[in-house]
């Protein structure tokens, strides 16, 4: 009941503020706008010889954009914790029967659910947009897998953002932090540039973040049926090369299971760091 009430509060505060929703979606919206205005025609030119290349590219972009949405919206939902600390709202919450760990848990659960909901919303909007622009198909059969991948993405990014935000004590830091995370999310998720076209140094760096694996997981699910159709008459090796270039197959891992596994490892790692940091901050306060 206490945890539920806190989660409900976080939802009301997040969804009650349209400006906040819009700003947390800014990273994804910018990625889509950049794609439509500048990148689409360029990348498309390279894909002329691929059957239904435009549609394939649309699905590829959707995967990356949904990954950005998970990164930015979970972060923004977690900012509530900083607002509450700075406005002394936290002091009032602490006066109730809610413990510090229950309050923190409420921020994490709310952020993960908000991240999932926003990913679904972005998916629906982008599907609608590309149905209109490029006549892509809405494939209901992948919905279950897609939701699963979105949940994994939400959990990874909630924990990642929570760890970052544990070092933030002031609300004034948030806009700068937001700008850094939103703008780098597109790069790390490989939205603006396919992995295979990056320098080896850059692609190595990207492989150490969960962004690429999250995007890969989503792209594999979204592109699966279109890939089959487009590469129907083509040699299997061509498809494998294509997958490697477009970041659908990373480190030779079979997808989406490979990416799910890596994301799972990141979740485990982030959880350990989070628990350690929580313990450390408790100890510091006691000193």
């Amino acid at each position: 009941m206490i945890l539920l009430s806190l989660i409900k509060r976080n939802f009301k505060l997040y969804f009650g503020d349209r400006k906040r929703i819009l700003f947390s979606l800014m990273g994804s919206l910018i990625a889509v706008a950049l794609y439509l205005l500048f990148l689409k025609t360029n990348i498309q030119r390279e894909w002329n010889n691929i059957d239904s290349g435009i549609q394939l590219l649309d699905y590829w972009l959707m995967g990356g954009t949904i990954a950005i949405t998970a990164i930015t919206t979970t972060g923004d939902a977690l900012h509530q914790r900083i607002y509450d600390i700075e406005s002394k709202r936290m002091n009032d919450l602490m006066m109730s029967n809610a413990s510090k760990s229950i309050i923190d848990m409420s921020y994490i659960i709310s952020a993960a659910i908000i991240g999932l909901m926003m990913q679904i919303i972005v998916y629906i909007i982008l599907t609608g947009l590309f149905m209109l622009l490029d006549q892509i198909h809405f494939d209901l059969s992948i919905f279950g897998q897609l939701i699963g991948a979105m949940i994994i993405g939400s959990v990874v990014w909630t924990l990642f953002n929570m760890i970052i935000l544990m070092f933030v004590k002031k609300e004034s830091v948030l806009p700068s932090l937001n700008a850094i995370i939103s703008s780098s999310a597109g790069f790390f998720a490989g939205v603006y540039m396919p992995l295979g076209l990056l320098s080896s140094g850059a692609s190595k760096l990207l492989k150490f973040t969960p962004a690429l694996y999250d995007a890969s997981m989503l792209r594999n699910i979204l592109m699966k049926s279109q890939l089959k159709e487009s590469f129907h008459d083509v040699n299997g090796q061509v498809l494998e090369n294509f997958k490697a270039t477009m970041g659908l197959k990373i480190n030779g891992l079979a997808n989406p299971m490979g990416s799910i596994l890596v994301c799972g490892l990141f979740i485990g790692m982030f959880l350990v760091v989070f628990v350690l940091l929580t313990g450390l901050s408790k100890k510091t306060k006691q000193l």
């Binding site: 009941m1 206490i2 806190l6 409900k8 002394k88 002091n91 919450l93 602490m94 029967n97």
Partner: protein, 293 residues
């Protein structure tokens, strides 16, 4: 009910609270008086468990801050309104109520009636006036039926009607439920109704007594006589500490018998008079000085 011994808190090199001892009995209304920065809020923050003392002990009905159940009997009205500005009053109070294991919805409804909140419950908390917000803050603090209520400058900036309403409800809770109240205030007349007053200065308690005893010790009653009769002015000016100001003679006299005697003696020569009792302001200024700190 609450016993505090040797409570001390330092911030870097500055000592905010310096070995404070307090003893507060159940049902009492206790005031903390002091300048800004005297250590009132720091003391309260330690007593409600938000700030860890550097030294000293706080024992509330046998348990200390941080112990399980310590918060259960506490209600706090913070100096600044801290509820969610973007949520309605109704949502704020519902959410706050459900953060308690023993949430009583009927009690909450009763509170809304008493504090006249019903008409504003659909409004966003951030859109309310200062007085309306304060009423909601008080309702929120009382939601858990606390035994001990901390009010950190609850009346600052409020109109007289809101202040009266708030005290009407708080006094009802004191009498019906034996609520104990610890108050910090700048409004000295608010402290006037207290059972016990602690005056804080630079983190230390400089006086601690009932209002009447403090007045007896630190406040001076004043008799002002208005007269144009020079002989009367001459006679009255012989009293110690007399101040003359045109046709006004101000005498420091605490004994009402002496006041009656003077009035009778000069009744044919005086135009008017007034007798004013020493106030909390006098106590405060005597103990903490006139300068702004």
């Amino acid at each position: 009910m609450l016993e505090v011994n040797g409570l001390t808190k330092r911030f870097k090199n500055k000592i905010a609270v310096d070995h404070i001892d307090l003893k507060i009995n159940e049902g009492q209304l206790v005031s903390f008086l002091g300048h800004n920065g005297a250590g009132k809020s720091t003391t309260i923050n330690m007593m409600i468990g938000l700030l860890k003392p550097d030294a000293g002990s706080i024992i509330l009905n046998g348990i200390t801050p941080g112990d399980k159940g310590y918060n259960d009997s506490l209600g706090v009205v913070f100096q600044n309104s801290v509820l969610d500005k973007f949520l309605t009053v109704e949502d704020n109070l519902k959410i706050a109520g459900r953060l308690y294991k023993k949430y009583d919805e009927n009690f909450q409804k009763d509170l809304l009636d008493k504090l006249e909140i019903k008409s504003i419950q659909k409004q966003k908390y951030g859109d309310l006036s200062g007085g309306q917000r304060r009423r909601v803050d008080i309702a929120r603090a009382l939601l858990s039926k606390p035994k001990l209520l901390f009010l950190d400058e609850p009346s600052t900036g409020l109109d007289i009607q809101t202040r009266n309403k708030i005290w009407e409800v708080l006094n009802e809770f004191r009498h019906k439920m034996g609520l104990t109240i610890i108050l910090t205030t700048h409004y000295l007349e608010e402290a006037n109704q207290s059972d016990w007053v602690y005056v804080l200065e630079k983190g230390k308690i400089v006086a601690s007594d009932t209002v009447d005893n403090l007045k007896g010790m630190y406040a001076q009653n004043k008799l002002t006589i208005y007269t144009n009769d020079l002989a009367t002015i001459d006679s009255l000016s012989k009293y110690d500490g007399t101040i003359l100001n045109d046709n006004k003679v101000i005498l420091n006299i605490n004994s009402y018998q002496e006041v009656t005697k003077i009035i009778q003696e000069f009744q044919n020569n005086i135009d008017d008079f007034e007798y004013i009792h020493g106030s909390m302001d006098d106590i405060f200024i005597t103990l903490t000085g006139r300068e702004i700190k």
